[in-house]
Amino acid sequence: MAEKIYDKQNPAYYALLVALVVMAVGPILMMLMTSLKLNVDIMSSTSSLFFMPTIRNYETALCDFLWYEAAHIDYCDKTFGRALVNSLIIALVSTVLTLVIGCMAAYALVRFRFMGRDTVSLSTLTMRMVPPAVLLVPVFGIWTFQFQIDGTRAGIILVYVAMNLPFVIWILQSFIVQVPIQLEEAARMDGAGPFQVFFLVVLPLIKPGLAAAAIFTFRVAWNEFLLANALADRNSRTVPVTIVNSITEFDIDWGVIMATGMLLAIPPIIFTFVASRQIITGMTAGAVKG
């Protein structure tokens, strides 16, 4: 397999490929370019390809993290910086929690034959279909009046963990099924308890599944807007919420808003390049196995 033979294709085929790549990546590049422009350049009517790149918009957005004084900032608006910290904390904590809890549940469902696989996949599917908009009213009501955790990061994390668990359990199940039971039995013979077997034998073997699950969970928690908007207060707002808040009907500061958008887009873009294979595994598993 090392020497793969590639078919020769006609030029039209490659032209189509190039057109598709431009279409897929073009809007993202345009956002990147706009974020590197001054507003004068954005509004000018001349060609948009040639301009002096500047990081001023990023400086404006991240002003409270700067270790130097940027000359063009008169007043530092800390909203975005705070939101970035919130987003990072919320996304990371909820990813870790979802993975740990989901992993344990998936393991129990597979190894101890709790419920049939059918029950689990039906409930996963049912949960997958629930739109965040449907959770909006009840989660707002319960979080505010009963749990009184509205406006805290913990409250937002709790919803995200619950929202992601069904998918994570279900995808990890399909990986755990493939771990040979003999391996676990051998470990048990050597005197390992159930927790040791799980953490030292099973977990290392399902790393690819964990990676896929982690990326999907992180993506949901990092990108989600609606519930965060309903639950967060001034101090726990996440980046998507601040972006939407700063879009007003008129007079949008395109340079800065594109810079914040770019900052929000960077982590998912990095994941895509690092782990595209795991992402595709996760996606195809979702459809091919139902």
Binding site: A105, L109, P132, V161, P166, P194, V244, I247
Partner: protein
């Protein structure tokens, strides 16, 4: 004795955290929503103080012209978007399914639009649709055409929202159908080639029928997701102009936050949920049917031997 106990309890210990969290933060809210849909409730009240009004919210909604309008917009959006994406995605997969260098790079680039936050997708497209500085109108102007009112005219706004969604989600269909294509049995393909089937005949009589199970599941998954789209439209048009792009999810969130009618929003959520439930159930039944059929065929094949 101690260890035996631990062993018996292990499955419950492993399952407990997940069960508790899902019960508290997923099932309970959904039950709560069903209850709230029978109430006349505004956000400043506790739920206990809200008045019980029976089915009034549901009946009001049925008579509400703007709810019916946004239900229709949602259906139209989902249908248009999903059929366009299926057509383009499957078409591209059939076209690009060749053995070429760099296919994995291509797939990686195609996933990008799906991974980026919907909010950001909305932002990018809003910039491109911008009446004066956006690239579309700039290009049109430099070629001497009139600018198009992308987001300020009802019909164009709907089209713009559809275009943005097609950009974001066609890759999903493309990647799934490509995976399906590449796992087709080579023997069938070769047999067809030997029998002298043309490219089109191969596609219509062999590839598409063999891909069908995956395609149908993909279609249903995408359809379910199409009903969940919210952020892109929120950023692009916020439902306007008029109600031309106000899909149900958006209307739910506006009913809750702007009109402060939590009961009505809950009833609306229930309508949406019922619709999605029917779709999901259809998908599950289809999966079961396919499995049964496969099992029957396998059994028949064994009996033949």
């Amino acid at each position: 004795m101690q260890t035996a106990n631990v062993n018996r309890l292990t499955p419950y210990l492993f399952l407990a955290p997940a069960a508790v969290i899902m019960a508290v933060a997923l099932l309970y809210p959904i039950g709560y929503m069903v209850y709230a849909s029978f109430l006349d409730w505004n956000p400043s009240q506790r739920i206990g103080e809200a008045e019980f009004v029976g089915l009034r919210n549901y009946i009001n909604l049925l008579g509400d012209a703007s709810f019916r309008e946004s239900f229709w917009v949602t259906m139209k959006f989902a249908m248009v978007v999903v059929s366009l994406e299926m057509f383009l995605g499957v078409g591209l997969a059939l076209l690009l399914d060749r053995n070429i260098r760099g296919m994995s790079v291509l797939r990686t680039l195609f996933i990008l639009p799906m991974m980026i936050a919907p909010i950001v997708v909305g932002l990018m497209w809003r910039y491109m649709y911008h009446p004066t500085v956006g690239i579309f109108n700039r290009t049109l102007k430099s070629m001497g055409f009139d600018p198009i009112p992308w987001l300020s005219d009802g019909n164009w706004a709907f089209a713009s929202v559809v275009i943005a969604d097609v950009w974001q989600w066609t890759p999903f269909i493309f990647i799934l159908s490509l995976a399906a294509l590449q796992s087709l049995p080579q023997s069938a393909m070769e047999a067809a080639k030997i029998d002298g089937a043309t490219g089109w005949q191969q596609i219509i009589h062999i590839k598409l029928p063999l891909m069908m199970p995956v395609l149908i599941v993909t279609l249903l998954l995408r359809l379910i997701d199409a009903f969940k789209v919210l952020e892109v439209i929120l950023v692009l048009t916020n439902g306007g102009p008029g109600l031309s792009t106000e899909i149900l999810s958006l209307r739910i969130s506006r009913t809750a936050s702007e009109f402060r009618e939590l009961g009505e929003a809950a009833a609306m959520s229930n309508y949406l949920l019922i619709l999605l439930m029917i779709l999901t159930f259809a998908m599950f039944l289809y999966n079961k049917a396919v499995e049964l059929r496969a099992a029957r065929l396998r059994k028949a094949a064994e009996e033949d031997l």
